[in-house]
Symmetry: C2
Subunit: 279 residues, 2 copies
């Protein structure tokens, strides 16, 4: 297993980790800490302006490693489905404008009243067939993110890397791949084999880190932990993705109200330190 | 898929579903609703007395379908480990005294400070090697229950039926099998194949039902839902276990504070109705 610390140049800080910072504050903070890359979210980018954000990032010398997120493609209603596809096309265009080649997709949960997980996953596949060519035209790869099984009903019917790859492999690898997020897959003894499968197929499009801490908060969405605070063996996962040929950005993405309540610059510094110690 | 309702004689109500009821109240309530079987928990049984509980159940004509629960076998500390094994031997003896052949095992979480899921799972296997022969002597089968992956850190390092069977298959089937609990495995597209594998090996030792409802409460333990209130397709799971040769009790086990706040007899009636409608 590789034990040397990763250089800070491999770190990308996902904007949600320090969502208390405005985009200019994020750019300044990263410069101060020697952080060279960020993952962005659509809502704050739209609010600041897509082109304006792209310029801000370029001027600050920051690489945008991913845009979060498209997806929510499981609703069988025709009108809702058309709106979702339009919204995802817009997300692809925004990713291209920001200069990132990776749009993260969260599939969506079960439609209201439905108990048909397999059917919902099939609708995701149908949407990928429509969106893949549009993404290819824009030079963007769709990265299907399996979310932890505790989100299967209300957020993401794709729960494992195996399921995500079953979906992705129906399409060309330069159109559709997967995200490996330690928070979502750390418990899965099949994850190492699935990471190897993703690597062989050229579908390992993003690698994200967060730690698993307990007890989980109500609603469980904001339970992600700072690196080192929980149960995830990050070095083991890093070895897996490296063995699978991955040498791209390593993005830290934490949703945690305690981190959001602190000074954003201090959280950036801590994140860089934890990255060096644990990733 | 089988669509006929199951007869009420297949229903077993797990004591935790109506934990507001004392054991005599549970026996009375079941008689009133035509419920013929129950799953019991060690703490209330010990409090009432093991032999006394066995007599109460016999006199009421109630079958005890399982005892919950042994397990918590992941601590590497020698003294803690010896205590855990002793406690599990006592649980096996209690199961035998209650006349049930099934002791449910919850493996235990990661030891404090550990990030070694594979090591923790290996310690569960070592404990099964010790406990299996003792269980066999008493005519009790150890039923390893995979818990939902959201419990992997703090409660159960065995998260899928596949993992549970990997453990169980190291031992004779009459010593070690698995529990299929819909709440824990409903999200898993591998569950049908693993249920078939359990059936082929004679290791499908218990079948439990609870629904998946959101949002999850803080700590997530008490988030289990009444049948029909959530996302689980019970008929699909019932078809799976029937196709795997299972014709044993179908146990409803719900931990839910809203159910506990209601009249226990009313919850028993509702549970029987929901069982007929959904199971």
């Amino acid at each position: 297993m590789s034990t040397a610390a990763l250089p800070l140049t491999r770190l990308s800080v996902n904007q949600q980790t320090v969502k208390q910072l405005s985009l200019p504050e994020l750019a300044d903070g990263c410069a101060k800490e020697g952080i060279t890359a960020v993952g962005l979210w659509r809502a704050p980018v739209q609010e600041y302006g897509v082109e304006r954000t792209a310029r801000l990032m370029r001027d600050a010398g920051l690489t945008v490693t991913s845009l979060c997120r498209g997806g929510f493609l499981t609703d069988p209603d025709r009108a809702a489905r058309a709106r979702a596809l339009d919204d995802n096309r817009a997300a692809i265009d925004e990713a291209a404008a920001l200069g990132t080649d990776t749009l993260v997709l969260v599939s969506g949960g079960l439609p209201p009243g439905s108990r048909d997980l397999a059917g919902a996953r099939e609708r995701v596949a149908e949407a990928l067939a429509v969106l893949g060519p549009h993404a290819e035209e824009r030079g963007v790869r769709l990265a299907v993110e399996p979310l932890h099984p505790m989100f299967a009903a209300d957020r993401c019917v794709v729960s494992t890397l195996g399921q995500a790859l079953d979906l992705a492999e129906r399409f060309p690898a330069h159109q559709v791949g997967v995200v490996v997020d330690t928070y979502h897959v750390w418990w899965d003894d099949q994850a190492p084999a699935q990471i190897a499968r993703a690597g062989r197929g050229g579908r390992l499009h993003a690698f994200q880190l967060a730690d698993w801490i307990t007890p989980l908060p109500a609603g469980v969405l904001l339970g992600r932990g700072q690196l080192g605070d929980g149960s995830v063996d990050f070095r083991a996962f890093r070895t897996c993705v490296e063995d699978a040929g991955y040498d791209g950005p390593v993005e830290v993405e934490i949703f945690n109200e305690a981190l959001w309540a602190r000074d954003g610059g201090e959280v950036l510094r801590e994140t860089a330190e934890r990255f060096t110690a644990y990733a």
